[in-house]
């Protein structure tokens, strides 16, 4: 996989490059501000771009805006945004931005997740393949702030676990692995969740993430 990194902290940039190289990926460009990743993505056409939210010159959300632009202009590149802080609004902006054509992968993770190397690389793979990777904290916040108490209350504890993992963007196989159950029973839980929440069933992982998020936010 070919990857562009945009991160202003040199130590974190070097660490990321090391982790990705070690996992057999190629870092084609590593830049330190929010303008360069647009140029780098245009030039290298990578499979994925990893972008920090807070970057020079303004140190607010330059990286997020760059990510939204990449998503719009380069739908073939998956964008993984990561940040020291989780702001649910950013996730909404990023997912809502959509892409120019087709299904570009998108992810939003807390910087801490990089510490768990394998999980982070797995999330990046998912994003590069057109899937979704949402930080568990985003999902927790969405669930906590959701006004759809009645629908959520109807779920069993296990269905809620499945819902959380599904909202993070994980596939049925991955959910089965994490909860140590069979894929068949995950499918059953997913079916129950969709019918209890009154959502139209959806097979594609990223589309069902969107359905769940829209449900929680409405």
């Amino acid at each position: 996989m070919r990857i562009v990194i945009a991160e202003d902290s040199a130590v974190v940039r070097a660490g990321l490059a090391e982790i990705l190289a070690d996992s057999g990926h190629e870092v084609v460009a590593a830049v330190g501000n929010a303008d360069d990743p647009l140029a780098a993505v245009g030039e290298h056409r990578p499979d994925a771009a990893v972008v920090d939210v807070r970057m020079p010159p303004g140190y607010t959300d330059e990286g997020l805006r760059a990510a939204i632009t990449i998503r719009r202009d380069h739908p073939e590149t998956g964008v993984l945004v990561f940040s020291q802080y989780i702001e649910t609004r950013y996730a909404a902006d990023l997912l809502g931005a959509g892409s120019g054509g087709g299904a570009a992968g998108v992810g939003y993770l807390l910087k801490d997740r990089v510490a768990d190397v394998e999980e982070f690389v797995e999330a990046l793979n998912r994003v590069a393949a057109g899937g979704t990777a949402l930080d568990p904290e985003v999902v927790t916040q969405l669930l906590g702030a959701s006004r759809r108490d009645d629908g959520l209350a109807a779920l069993t504890a296990r269905e809620r676990d499945v819902l959380e993992l599904m909202a993070e963007g994980r596939s049925n196989a991955a959910i089965a692995g994490i909860l140590v159950v069979s894929e068949r029973s995950v499918e059953k839980h997913v079916g129950n969740i969709f019918s209890k929440l009154g959502l139209a069933p959806s097979d594609a992982d990223h589309r069902r993430v969107l359905a769940v998020l829209r449900y929680l936010e409405s």
Binding site: D8, S9, V11, V12, A14, G15, L16, E18, I19, D22, R54, G58, Y59, T60, D61, Q84, Y85, E87, T88, R89, K111, D112, V114, A115, D116, V117, E118, Q141, L142, G144, A145, S146, R147, D149
Partner: protein, 302 residues
Amino acid sequence: MYAPNDSAGSSRSVLMRFLVRSWEYRRPRLWVSVRVACGIFNVVLGVLLLASVRRLGPLAWLAAIPLAGAALIFWTVYRLQQDSVRRVRELEQSRAHLVEDSAARLRRIERDLHDGAQAQMVAVTMKLGLAMKKLGGMTDGTGHTDLDRVLELVVAAHRGAKEAVTELRNLARGIHPPVLDQGLGIALASLAARSDLPVELGIDLPERPSAAIETIAYFCAAELLTNVTKHSGARHATLEAVHVPGLLRVRISDDGCGGARVQTRGGLAGLAERIGTVDGRLQLSSPPGGPSVVTVELPSHT
């Protein structure tokens, strides 16, 4: 540090402080009253002298002395008042400067933490994570070799470093939430999203208040929302923020059990104190049985 026999000493010093302060406050007022009384006396004397100008004959000019004295006295009283008005204005300015300065300093500390310690710690967790992965591939899993022991140590260090990253993040956010740099409205929306109960937002902020005011408003909203979640038993809360020229009003209402009071040393008293540093005010309406409404009014600029 707080020995029992300290209390007698501290109560004495409090009494002394009270006496000194009341003297400090009263003395100028006393002098002003004495001066005004003297001034009036001089005016009366001057008028009497003028009235008896015929009897005084060539000494009629004596009437000018008390009148001139009265003019002098009233002029100094006026000067004194002007002085105190100027002094209050100076104090207000220096206080505003302090408030803005401390807000800017907190922003700087947060930025330094973000660029320094937080980034370094994230890099450490990444290196430890990588080391864990490599070691995991090398050990045989029996738990008896040195390599297993090393893996255990790295795993423990990794866990500790991750906890440190989380603690640092919470610390930095408590000092200055970075999202506030993008405006109070966005910061409040993010606060509402992070809240444990559904919060309805009503934001009307056509212009940005000054940074220090935004910070105070944000932390008030954060603490009030936490109170609602912790104590009110509410199912919903509403957070409104309206900025009209000169005044920022933040209002938080909930459908909880009510009965909230401003207690000495309580959270609300602390908030009221903080709001007071910029001449804002806090109003609480919380009858038993609810609903509770807390309104915070702040000037647009310090």
